[in-house]
């Protein structure tokens, strides 16, 4: 039976002052004139709360690019939901931050590109790093819990220790070190972003030591590079089980990367109620439960753990959204992943010319 959703990611805009080549946003970025209005977002947020959503993550693009962010936060907090802001930190002034906190913001996830300004600015494609240091200090002053998010790839894995030290310096309550997931711009730049086996091996003891050393002060979370794993990452808690994402134009997605699955018939929150979409839509029901699974997954003991892996990855690599995630060693398509891993890699140094920077 389908239960009510717990979390909503509201992608307010695709606009962003940074150009991270690992960005998971789609290649076809929506423009300002395609974005929902304040009123439309408020109605959607109200519906989401009625549907059962308890946690709203304002993200993007850069959510601070929307002047109505304080109003949307206030609306969401008044509905009784927990409000989280996922931000690059650019555009976060003291005044702006205080307003957001007054309106009911409960938590901030601040992204960082690397350990030092030189590398970080190269990856971001703009001078962003110093803004993040200032942003972290401002956030700490408000007393809000701070999570630092870092996407790891071949061009910053060598800085792992420095990144952990930076998060400590920033006073983060939580550090999420996530190896790049290959959607959107990241998929486009996969060959340049893919970490080496050596980098991943070197990361293990560093992460383990940090977890032990920082216990009770800063929670360290490490998300593995799934191409190198034997089994896929779990698809959230299952497709259409707990979370939904709304794109800047109101498209309702079972997961932030789901627009990649071209065969999926997506609905828009401006033309259908969230209730109808969550419980009744083709897209949300497409991979619920186990009926859609291939025999490989349906007969596997791990299906309750990983739900057959990531649907978006299955589609992107095999063209079939219902295939076993090709990362799985039981998948008949695992060779696709192995082939990618066998591609010889260039040195880890970051050369912007080799990347297609996000627009």
């Amino acid at each position: 039976m389908t239960e009510a959703p717990l979390g909503l990611t509201a992608e307010l805009t695709h606009r962003c002052p940074l150009h991270c080549p690992y960005c998971s946003n789609p290649l076809e970025l929506l423009q300002r004139d395609q974005e929902l209005t304040t009123q439309q977002w408020k109605e959607i947020l109200t519906q989401a709360r009625e549907l059962g959503v308890l946690q709203v993550h304002f993200s993007g693009g850069e959510p601070l690019g929307r002047p109505d962010l304080p109003e949307l936060i206030e609306h969401t907090a008044d509905l009784g939901a927990y409000v989280n802001l996922v931000t690059s930190g650019l555009g976060l002034t003291e005044q702006r931050l205080n307003t957001l906190v007054d309106k009911g913001l409960a938590h901030i996830q601040l992204s960082v590109q690397a350990a030092d300004a030189e590398r970080a600015n190269k990856i971001a494609g703009t001078r962003a790093h110093h803004h993040k240091l200032v942003a972290a200090e401002l956030i700490k002053r408000t007393g809000l819990p701070l999570s630092v998010n870092v996407v790891l790839h071949r061009a910053n894995h060598d800085q792992l220790e420095g990144i952990i030290a930076l998060a400590e310096q920033m006073g983060a309550d939580r550090l999420e070190l996530a190896n790049t997931q290959y959607y959107g711009w990241a998929l486009r730049n996969r060959d340049q972003l893919m970490p080496t086996k050596e980098q991943l091996a070197a990361a293990q003891p560093v992460v383990r030591a940090a977890i032990d050393r920082l216990k009770g002060r800063m929670q360290v979370i490490y998300v593995v590079a799934d191409y190198y794993e034997e089994y896929p990452k779990p698809c959230m808690y299952g497709w259409g089980a707990r979370q939904l994402t709304i794109a800047p134009d109101g498209t309702v997605l079972p997961c932030p990367a789901a627009s990649a699955i071209e065969t999926l018939n997506l609905d828009n929150a401006t033309t259908k109620s969230l209730q109808e979409i969550w419980y009744g839509s083709e897209s949300f029901n497409a991979y619920r439960g186990e009926d859609w699974m291939s025999d490989t997954c349906r007969s596997c003991d791990r299906r309750g753990i990983d739900f057959g892996g990531c649907r978006c990855q299955a589609f992107l690599l095999t063209g079939d959204g219902a295939a076993t995630d090709p990362v799985c060693r039981k998948s008949p398509d695992r060779e696709l992943v192995d082939l990618i891993l066998r591609t010889p890699v260039k040195p880890a140094e970051f050369k912007p010319a080799e990347f297609e920077m996000r627009r």
Binding site: A4, L6, G7, R49, E50, L51, G52, L54, Q55, G80, Y82, N84, A106, H107, Q109, G143, L144, P145, S147, D173, R174, G216, Q219
Partner: protein
């Protein structure tokens, strides 16, 4: 030992589900009635012994060790800390 909710953790009532829920940066927990009663007293001022005493008025045979066990689990989930 005085437990308190960690920064950014909120215990609220969800009228949609008719349940007490614990909201925190990474997710949502649905505490059982005993855990809820304990969480309501996690204010950084009340000691484990005081919480045990308060709970004995509601439930029979509450032991301090049980309260500590529940709190330890909640601390492992990063929602409670000791002050």
């Amino acid at each position: 030992m005085k437990p308190r909710l960690k920064r950014g953790v909120r215990l609220t009532y969800d009228h949609t589900r008719d349940l007490q829920v614990l909201l925190y940066p990474e997710g949502v927990l649905v505490p059982n009635p005993t855990a809820t009663a304990i969480l309501q007293l996690c204010d950084g001022d009340t000691t484990v012994d005081e919480i045990t005493l308060a709970l004995s008025n509601q439930y029979d045979g509450v032991q301090a060790q049980q309260v500590v066990d529940v709190l330890t689990r909640l601390a492992d989930r990063q929602v409670v800390e000791w002050s």
